[in-house]
């Protein structure tokens, strides 16, 4: 049984559903600087140990857990490194790090400690996305040609445009095309020189070596309420469409009807967690490795370069450069 410690703000992510369906693992500890939130999370997942930091956890309870699940913490790469140093397997649900250099540090720490490192790009486990990947891998769609994603959130969402959001979308594109993009052009709303983190709208245009391409627009400008997500993959012999527009129900309450978004549930978070556990139990690489996480960060950095320069960026060997 793998004993899991949740590090950071996990409130509302894992619930009784996740707890009851997780195989060969259990939640034993919560480390969260907000006491009330930590207590609430512990109650939900059945954890008996509550601490306010990874440091406290390692000092007082080092032998009582085997792996950490890190989310939404500042300097998460430092948390991951500390955990690896202590021989704990690591699932890091936010972006692996803020730079490829820091990502390399985490990857090396985990390698040296011989612990599993999984990067949590949970979008891969969403039912719609997993279905698209499965169909693509079956070959019936032929060669992937065009990935189109529209991802809109409200301006008060917890996921305001930030590097981790960008790197998650890039991870998806790289995963579906099975290679990094060879060409990147990106724009943000307003000013060319604005950095990704301070913008609420991002548009990324990717080219892949065999002619494939992707266009992703991300916005955090919707009014308070639900967001919108649409993903389609056009292949040479078929296509798949996973679209909120198609998956709406209607509510008639007077006036024009309201569209009610159907939900994909939280099974994707459980699936990601289970994959992490299975990789530990089966002593194999997880589905999303440190190298995968690093590549997504590298592409996100290339996006920054494109935005700040107002030019397209091309991949030259293992690096991205302005042309």
């Amino acid at each position: 049984m793998i004993r899991l410690a949740l590090i950071g703000n996990h409130r509302s992510e894992y619930n009784e559903y996740a707890v009851s369906r997780l195989h060969e693992a259990c939640f034993v500890a919560i480390a969260d600087c907000e006491c009330e939130r930590a207590t609430a999370s512990a109650k939900i997942v059945g954890a008996s140990i509550i601490a306010d930091s990874i440091e406290e956890l390692l000092v007082k309870h080092a032998n009582e857990f085997d792996a950490v699940v890190i989310r939404n913490t500042k300097n998460s790469h430092l948390v991951a490194s500390s955990a690896a140093d202590a021989g704990k397997h690591v699932l890091i649900e936010s972006s692996l790090a803020s730079s490829t250099e820091l990502a390399d540090e985490v990857i090396e720490k985990c390698r040296a400690a011989n612990v599993r490192l999984m990067v949590g790009h949970s979008q891969r486990f969403l039912p719609a996305v997993a279905t698209i990947k499965s169909v693509l891998d079956s070959g019936v769609l032929g060669a992937p040609g065009l990935l189109r994603i529209h991802h809109w959130e409200s301006s008060d969402s917890n996921n305001r445009l930030a590097r981790h959001r960008v790197s998650s979308e890039m991870d998806l594109a790289i995963w579906l095309f099975a290679e990094p993009p060879s060409q990147i052009y990106a724009l943000v709303r307003g000013h060319v020189a604005t950095a990704v983190e301070s913008s609420d709208y991002l548009q990324v245009h990717l080219g892949f070596p065999d002619g494939g391409m992707a266009l992703i627009d991300y916005a955090a400008t919707l009014p308070h309420g639900a967001g919108y997500y649409s993903i389609s993959m056009i292949g040479s012999t078929g296509a798949t469409y996973g679209d909120d527009h198609h998956n709406m129900q209607l509510l008639y309450g007077g006036g024009e009807p309201t569209a009610l978004k159907t939900a994909q549930g939280c099974g994707h978070l459980l699936a990601q967690l289970q994959e992490f556990v299975d990789s530990i139990v089966q002593n194999r690489d997880p589905a999303i490795t440190g190298a995968d996480g690093r590549l997504a960060i590298q592409v996100a950095q290339a996006i920054d370069l494109s935005i700040s320069s107002g030019r397209a960026v091309h991949r030259n060997g293992e690096r991205y450069e302005l042309v």
């Binding site: 040609g145 709303r189 245009h205 002619g211 627009d217 919707l222």
Partner: protein, 377 residues
């Protein structure tokens, strides 16, 4: 009824406009669309005598269907048949030449898309139309119910000021053998022959000697949506193109799939994804969506709606399962055209707008070839 061939601004409202169909070699949706309006009457089909036999055959066929004469002399037909309007539906490379000749003869013009394969030709049309003070309508789909709905919603202020617009425009049609299906040593597919063959199923929008990718063949439709919904000109583009689906496109080095980043006036950003993605890739004619983001919200529009689903035993695999409803695009376009002639107003997509769209398309093609951003000139 107007009896002269001079421009009839401020003409008698309600008068009938007699039309000369100057070549109709593609599927004849443009002249049929024009004729669906009670103020427009097809009078004659005309073309140059020097055209090849297949062109004459198609022209004659359309003339016979409509019980009107076919004259192998454009200028003679214009002189003899008392027409006020020219409907140009030839191969793309002849669009502008016929439009210029029609304008110089004082005819108002309805022209099929694309405007041209060359910007210089578009410039000739703009010059001829403005110099002769005739009206020009670039055929488009801006009056589809969903597009009108999008415009009304945006104009109501429901999403605030638009700052980003995205059109995903995929036609699920085949275009000959799939890419990679040929045998080693096979000669390249001849573009014109392929397009002539495609006439049978109406997918010959690229008919002509000059190969055209999807940006040139169909790009006007989504770019016209973007133009109408934002009122903004495209200033710079970044594009990627590829021949992903069809051997004919690969053999003739023209794309059947393209993505374009659009940088527009007023800092509006946009994208266009366009492709002829194959009949297997959608249950209907294709996935066509408009997404608009504004200062107060967002809008997602399916261009196909409203529609009704139809399924039955032994239904042909290529028959659309969803049928579009309440389409009045043709009549509304001709209402717009008639109003322009009557009042001197501009049409919804005039020659300058057509030229701007052509320039955007050319910039996208150039960007894809060079890998660089390209200004729209």
């Amino acid at each position: 009824m107007s009896s002269s061939n001079s421009p009839s601004f401020g003409g008698h409202h309600g008068s009938i406009f007699r039309c000369a169909v100057l070549s109709v070699v593609k599927h004849a949706y443009v002249p049929r669309g024009v004729a669906s309006h009670r103020r427009f009457e097809l009078a004659v089909v005309a073309d140059d005598r020097s055209m090849p036999d297949w062109v004459h055959e198609r022209n004659q066929e359309f003339a016979d269907e409509n019980n009107i004469p076919y004259v192998q002399d454009v200028e003679k037909a214009v002189r003899d048949f008392n027409v006020q309007v020219a409907i140009v539906s030839s191969e793309a490379e002849r669009h502008c030449d016929l439009s210029v000749r029609a304008a110089n003869a004082g005819l108002h013009i309805v022209q099929d898309k694309p405007m041209s394969t060359k910007i210089s030709e578009c410039d000739r049309v703009v010059d001829a139309v403005e110099r002769n003070r005739v009206k020009f309508l670039m055929w488009n789909r801006n009056f589809l119910p969903a597009v009108i709905h999008a415009q009304e919603t945006i104009e109501s202020g429901a999403i605030g000021d638009p700052y980003a617009i995205h059109v995903d425009f995929y036609f699920s049609k085949d275009s000959g053998p799939p890419k990679g299906s040929g045998l080693p040593g096979d000669p390249p597919i001849n573009w014109l022959e392929r397009q002539i063959e495609a006439h049978a199923d109406g997918s010959d929008g690229g008919v002509g000697r000059e190969p055209m990718g999807e940006l040139k063949v169909e790009g006007i439709y989504p770019l016209a949506y973007i133009r109408m919904l934002t009122g903004a000109e495209v200033q710079r583009v970044f594009a990627r193109t590829t021949a992903h689906f069809h051997q004919a496109n690969a053999d003739n080095d023209v794309e059947d799939l393209a993505t374009v980043t659009l940088e527009m006036e007023r800092n509006i950003l946009g994208t266009l994804c366009i492709g002829r993605i194959g009949a297997a890739s959608h249950p209907d004619i294709g996935e066509i969506k408009i997404h608009v983001l504004g200062s107060k919200g967002g809008l997602v529009i399916s261009e196909a709606r409203p529609e009704v689903a139809v399924y039955y035993k032994n239904q042909a695999p290529k028959e659309n399962r969803n049928r579009r409803l309440a389409i009045d695009n043709d009549c509304l376009l001709m209402d717009d055209f008639a109003r322009a002639i009557d009042t001197g107003a501009e049409t919804i997509l005039n020659a300058r707008a057509g030229r701007a769209i052509c320039a955007t398309v050319q910039a996208a093609v150039d960007s894809a070839r060079s890998g660089q951003l390209v200004d729209v000139i």
